[in-house]
Symmetry: C2
Subunit: 265 residues, 2 copies
Amino acid sequence: MDNSTAAIGMFDSGLGGLTVMHQLVQALPNEEVIYFGDTARLPYGDKSPETIIRYSIENAIFLIEQKIKMLVVACSTATSHALDHLQQTFNIPIIGAIEPGAEQATKTSKNERIAVLGTKGTISSRSYEKALLARNPKAYVLPIACPLFVPLVEEHFVKHPAAQLIVHEYLKVIKDHRIDTLILGCTHYPLLKNLIAAEVGEHITIIDSAAACATYAASLLSDKGLLRHSSEVVQHRYFVSDDPHRFQMLGREFLGLPIDHVHLK
Amino acid sequence: MDNSTAAIGMFDSGLGGLTVMHQLVQALPNEEVIYFGDTARLPYGDKSPETIIRYSIENAIFLIEQKIKMLVVACSTATSHALDHLQQTFNIPIIGAIEPGAEQATKTSKNERIAVLGTKGTISSRSYEKALLARNPKAYVLPIACPLFVPLVEEHFVKHPAAQLIVHEYLKVIKDHRIDTLILGCTHYPLLKNLIAAEVGEHITIIDSAAACATYAASLLSDKGLLRHSSEVVQHRYFVSDDPHRFQMLGREFLGLPIDHVHLK
């Protein structure tokens, strides 16, 4: 059977993964995406590894039932705790939100000193640290948990002076560590990129892990001969576990495209 | 059977209900409390009514199985959407976090102009508005959703200048409405009371809905002859659906007492 016409499945705890989808559909305009946002149980960032593994497996089963050719775990917290489990359990290519950003940061950093911003769950899992050290054991990694960034983005406070103060509070430690590369290790953080760039200054290169993840997904599909070449109109599908209306309203800002219909799972 | 020695059951989506428990154990030091924090599924504030009803019924069943004489829904969002369902379903006294605060605000306000602060869920349910208008149809009610307050409290930003800016952003509208009474309509908000009081000024009386709820629970137990008169040492019990350690660490600040052991449900 030719799988190449099947869709790419993608899940996140909520809206954040839409920044990965945004990058993916820009890179691969012929591909269809089935996106699942687990909005009834968000956020994942401060839940335990066991709970996140359970939720991730349930989400993967739901998407695989929709017939997908690849699964993108578009959520750093779920990737941190559950990617290995998912790859061992299911028989399709499954990629996470962490390795691609770590790879790009390793190639970018000149002084081998890299900061990683993420949710509490991502940071305490040390997944970025492990991925960076596996690539360069001499790397110095500065992990910074930024738990207020997701609510600030979700509440449209990204241009508010309070967001600037909170960005400064979390990131002021960076200047003491001679960092030259910084990873946005959460799919919500690209919406704060301008504030973060202004805070850390031009000498630090910012790696957007959503963009890195999308680039990696595209190259993997190509390697496996799974790219869709059909010129039929692409029809993405969106599912959530709660409140389709809110997802539809807010999702546009993350995706950069209108979302016409959202199904309740 | 004499039920008076049984414990009082209490649930919230997480830690916030501990501010109600704090008030309750101060008022009734002989009572035992069994507290359930649904930390695997928090926050409830932005989930749909159907989901919140389902979660609330599951939480109530769990507590009733532990043998309780009264159930306190120590969460404004769950009260808004699920209190009626719970009262119709279960055969013990069940009180919510909304009516007691509405009652106290109605008695307090001289100019009949009352502001209500709450999560998105509480505000969009219009529960406080309905409770206030049922008591005084001439009341003018100003509802204000403050979705960033809970994360600010949970992340210990209550003394940070960013919290002050966010309090100002949400509450600046109050000065145009000649409000004389303001309800803290979420169990997390008492921890922001000082900032809120400084923002709105001394001419506005702040009603702490956690304290009002505890006072009402005490009077209802007394009316029903259910007060515990035993002088045995009181042993509260704590259950959560995720991450007992985090609950134990952060809970102390909400409860004002050390929490010695937290069980995973």
